[in-house]
């Protein structure tokens, strides 16, 4: 790796100053993607700004309304070890346990997974279906961006020069709601999704009140499929309706062929995964009494 300097600011203001004052500075959290990419010469930096000592980036707590505030640098292990997360947002704990393996999960964060902006990022479809909002801060102040609008292309995000992701606001789960993320990988651990699908549903009087679906590794960015959610709203969670929604996800996918799979295989997978994720989300919603 080429020479770079390192700074570990203790406050957001200090971090923003460092990032805004140097166009070749990069935010740095778990480092499990960034260090590999820098070693391979894919990304360069003159200064790494370590965000792990900033209180806001380490937040993992519920506010008085029951919404989750998740700091961008919180490592996966803290997310899946948190009992409140496991109980109220099991899909979030599951996806944190799915990324890499144990030593990766000690460092890697969901903020990093989002900012790395890989189309195959497992946690991004989950953030989208949970309705997560990203809190950003930069030289121009703060702004909020819905998770589904954050990635703009492979490795590309809405982050402006000098701006950083502070964390996620994840709304409290609705009554009788459930969510699930499924992916296809040759290996269970230490692998990258060939395709993935996240689904969240809320039920009311035997009907789907609200549904959202988002896909991994079948487009240049993690992909929300709002038309499938609109189709399901107000309908019973019947096998036919779920099949139709899965077909809509399959049609929305714009996969490519690469070393992990062909476009045709991915399109097939994402239909199957969406159907199964919806079925599991409905099962979970029906089990929840709150």
């Amino acid at each position: 790796m080429k020479w770079f300097d390192y700074a570990a600011p203790r406050s957001l203001a200090e971090a923003v100053n460092l990032l805004a004052g140097n166009p070749r500075a990069r935010p740095f959290a778990g480092g499990t993607d960034l260090l590999v990419q820098m070693r391979a010469g894919l990304r360069e930096a003159d200064l790494l700004v370590d965000l792990k000592h900033i209180p806001e980036l380490n937040e993992l707590a519920c506010d008085s309304a029951g919404n989750l505030r998740l700091g961008a640098a919180v490592p996966c292990c803290r997310i899946y070890e948190n009992q409140e997360v496991r109980r109220r947002w099991p899909v979030l704990a599951e996806v944190a346990e799915m990324i890499g393996g144990i030593p990766i999960q000690s460092r890697a964060s969901l903020g990093g997974n989002l900012c790395n902006a890989a189309p195959s990022a497992d946690s991004v479809p989950v953030m989208i279906v949970l309705g997560a909002v990203c809190r950003l801060v930069g030289p121009g102040g703060e702004r909020k961006v819905p998770a589904e609008e954050f990635c703009t292309g492979p490795g590309q995000t809405v982050l402006r020069p000098g701006e950083l992701l502070v964390g996620f606001d994840i709304p409290a789960p609705e009554p009788r709601s459930g969510a699930c993320y499924l992916r296809f990988t040759p290996r269970k651990e230490m692998d990258i999704a060939v395709a993935g699908a996240a689904a969240a549903v809320a039920l009311e009087d035997g009907l789907i009140r609200r549904a959202s679906i988002a896909l991994a590794a079948v487009a240049p960015t993690p992909l929300a499929v709002p038309e499938a959610g609109r189709f399901l709203a107000g309908k019973p969670p019947s096998p036919e309706n779920i099949r139709t929604a899965a077909e809509m996800a399959r049609a929305a996918a714009r996969p490519i062929t690469d070393m992990r799979g062909t476009a045709e295989h991915r399109r097939h997978l994402v239909g199957v995964l969406t159907r199964r994720a919806l079925e599991a989300a409905v099962r979970r919603a029906a089990e929840v009494n709150s």
């Binding site: 790796m1 080429k2 020479w3 770079f4 300097d5 390192y6 570990a8 778990g30 480092g31 499990t32 260090l35 590999v36 070693r39 003159d46 790494l48 370590d50 792990k52 292990c77 890499g100 393996g101 144990i102 030593p103 990766i104 000690s106 460092r107 290996r187 269970k188 651990e189 230490m190």
Partner: protein, 162 residues
């Protein structure tokens, strides 16, 4: 500013250790090339093989995937910290007795992974063991003997603790 090395204060295997490193040096490079602890191995250098794993503040990490400067103020355990003199740790003994060591390159990482696993899950089932060891590649043993060694170590440690 460019070109300045950084002084890092850590505790390694219970001893206060201070070292001077470049910000770009991984913790693995710092341990092996500066501190002189060569138990952690460089395999893939990108987080896939687990040969470089060490315990940092109670958690297993790939030392190739973090910078030495990030270890400021941290407690680190490497494989060198397990045996007491000539007395092996029960996990090390179990690996030897089960034939879970052949070339030995992956062994430090696997033993440290086992240590963290058994601290958190004293009686792991086979799927838990395999999940905890999934970030560690072994090209010799076929893993079965490693899984048996973890089970033996778990049983012995439960006996010791009971």
């Amino acid at each position: 500013m460019r070109g300045e090395k950084v002084r890092v204060q850590t505790t390694i295997n219970g001893q206060a250790v201070e070292f001077l490193c470049e910000p770009r040096q991984s913790l693995l490079e710092c341990l092996r090339d500066i501190v002189g602890l060569t138990g952690a191995k460089e395999g893939c250098n990108d987080g896939n093989c687990g040969a470089c794993a060490v315990i940092l503040d109670g958690r297993l990490v790939n030392s190739c995937l973090m910078l030495g400067v990030e270890a400021q103020g941290c407690q680190i355990t490497t494989i060198e910290g397990l045996a007491r003199g000539t007395e092996l740790d029960p996990i090390q003994r179990a690996f030897l007795e089960q034939g879970a060591v052949q070339c030995g390159f992956c062994t430090p990482g696997l033993i440290l992974a086992t240590k963290v696993l058994l601290e958190r899950v004293p009686e792991p089932d086979e799927s838990q063991i395999r999940r905890w060891l999934a970030n560690h590649l072994c090209r010799c043993t076929g893993y079965d003997k490693i899984v048996r060694a973890v089970k033996q170590a778990a049983a012995q440690l439960r006996g010791v603790r009971a």
